[in-house]
Amino acid sequence: MAASAAVRSAVGLTQRFVRVSPDCSICPLYRLNACTGATDGFTAPNRRLRTSIGVCQTEDSSSPEEHERVVNVVFIDRSGQRTRVQARVGENALQLAHRHGVDLEGACEASLACSTCHVYVSSEHYEKLPEPEEREDDMLDMAPMLQENSRLGCQIILTPELDGMELTLPKVTRNFYVDGHVPKPH
């Protein structure tokens, strides 16, 4: 596909990549307007915030110490199997899924260039999420079986008020068959 998707996406995607690297949009300091601009040697004014920054700097999977920074989430996979996981405040649902081996595809690595991390959000928690930005809605347009409670997993930032949230993986991926064949569930 040298002259097609890879080529045409290179300029656009790279542009985006340069702008979001490091990915401030997923950092709780940025979202709470408390970013001092430093990417190492953090001296956050609020001690509670500082501990969750450690999440961005290291990928260790040890559970957080303080109770209020744990967010309980349930992933429901395509076969209905429930997986209870503990999320860290500030991480996004795609990272959370990958940390726990939940099979949520994230083709563009949270750069709002695909819809493969599409999930359904339990309705009472859907209301608590901030409105999607236009770019997320644009990508959701491409997701099959869109519902009122659809969101992109990479844009769901875990906060304490989302405790108990259930994220359901849609049953169908974008399969196209020239002869109209309907795929068997795998």
Binding site: A3, S9, V11, F17, V18, D179
Partner: protein
């Protein structure tokens, strides 16, 4: 797609990459099938559909494939030298590629400077006199082939205003509410651009033009280069995705010095031994199994035709992989026979004077491009010469 995902796959112990091999010329598909239990064709669509109109070969007319290849650093397009000294450019086609081309032609140079666009094209674009880009489609606004992300990038381009024809949008507002969400949001964004237009003071403008098909490229008095394009005006029969463009007999001439045809890519046959459907330009297949050829599969654009975004094609590749695994499990692939794999192929290539590039060697090319980019404040500066790439790879 992200380099990281590919790199992870490439570093898997059961994965190996052999670059610098021209399949069909350096090694045949039959030779590959002898060496491997299964062969998968995923080579996409590197040809382009031509308009098939008089004047198409005049200087000033380019395929989007070549133009995109030029600014993206494809070695075979580095000598394109498009003349950007005209005021108006016309792009035929309204898919995502057409919108990408328009965006590159009109984006402020400050925006482009931070990307991995080639330095040569950056300089050419910095000196470009192109101020107006028209993106032309055969049918109407409800049939436009681009997706909303790309349209939004045009609408949001700084220092550029939209110049649409309200007449092209007659009757659209009335049917909006019944459209499926993706088409509805896309159409609403177009309507917004019609109404609001953007920054009046902007020097540059872009516009969508509907119900128009190219019939002739016009040359100036000397007949030496394109100076305009003749468009046939269409009317729409039917509605929705299956609406057809019908001729009315009327035409319209547009003055322009740059014409880019973006009407679709096309796969080309890789090897005479592989079945190929020239009408649809794909390898005939059943769910990815190549017709009448056991052990040969295909995925992506060469399987389904050149449409669909990355996620679509990615999922299609997953489907081919599942079909292949299913065939292994069902005994449709004879795994009892031992196959020599890469050992046999690289030995064969060596006798033919072809030296391969391994992934770790490709990584040297990658590292060099990133290194050159750093000094220019870009993610990478692409190497444009294959010999230079090979020298670095094999160093």
């Amino acid at each position: 797609m992200s380099l990281t995902v590919f790199t992870q796959t490439a570093q898997h112990e059961r994965f190996s990459f052999h670059g610098n091999v021209n399949v069909g010329k350096d090694v045949t598909i039959d030779e590959l099938r002898q060496a491997y239990h299964a062969v998968v064709l995923s080579y996409g669509a590197e040809g382009n559909r031509s308009m098939g109109i008089p004047g198409e070969d005049l200087p000033g007319v380019f395929s989007a494939k070549d133009f995109v290849g030029w600014y993206n650093g494809l070695p075979c397009n580095k000598e394109l030298h498009p003349d950007l000294s005209c005021e108006t450019a016309v792009i035929l086609g309204q898919g995502n590629v057409a919108l990408d081309v328009a965006r590159i032609l009109l984006a402020p140079v400050e925006m482009l400077k931070e990307t991995d666009i080639t330095q040569n094209s950056l300089e050419a674009l910095a000196n470009s006199k192109v101020r107006r880009v028209l993106i032309v489609g055969r049918r109407g606004p409800l049939q436009i082939a681009c997706t909303i992300k790309e349209l939004r990038e045009m609408v949001n381009l700084p220092k550029v205003r939209a110049d649409m024809l309200p007449a092209d949008f007659k009757g659209i507002a009335e049917v909006l509410k019944d459209l499926p969400r993706p088409r509805k949001r896309l159409t609403e964004l177009m309507m917004k651009a019609v109404k609001e237009g953007g920054d009046d003071k902007a020097e540059k403008c872009w516009g969508l033009r509907f119900f128009r098909s190219p019939v002739e490229v016009l040359a100036g008095a000397d007949g030496k280069r394109a100076t305009g394009i003749r468009l046939a005006l269409n009317k729409l029969e039917g509605s929705g995705e299956s609406a057809r463009a019908e001729v009315t007999g009327q035409t319209e001439d547009v003055d322009c010095g740059l014409i880019i045809s973006s009407i679709g890519y096309k796969s080309i046959p890789i090897d005479p031994a592989v079945p190929f459907d020239p009408r649809r330009a794909i390898v005939p297949n059943e769910m990815g199994r190549v017709q009448d050829t056991a052990g040969l599969y295909c995925s992506g654009w060469v399987k389904r035709g050149p449409t669909g975004v990355i996620a679509t094609t990615m999922n299609d590749s997953f489907d081919t992989a599942r079909v292949l695994i299913q065939d292994m499990e069902d005994g449709k692939l004879d795994l009892s026979v031992n196959k020599p794999g890469a050992k046999a192929i690289t030995a064969l290539l060596q006798t033919r004077g072809v030296r391969t590039v391994l992934f770790s060697q490709w990584e040297k090319i990658n590292a060099e491009e990133e290194k050159r980019g750093r000094s220019l404040g870009k993610p990478r500066e692409k190497l444009l010469d294959v010999d230079e790439m090979l020298k670095i790879a094999w160093s």
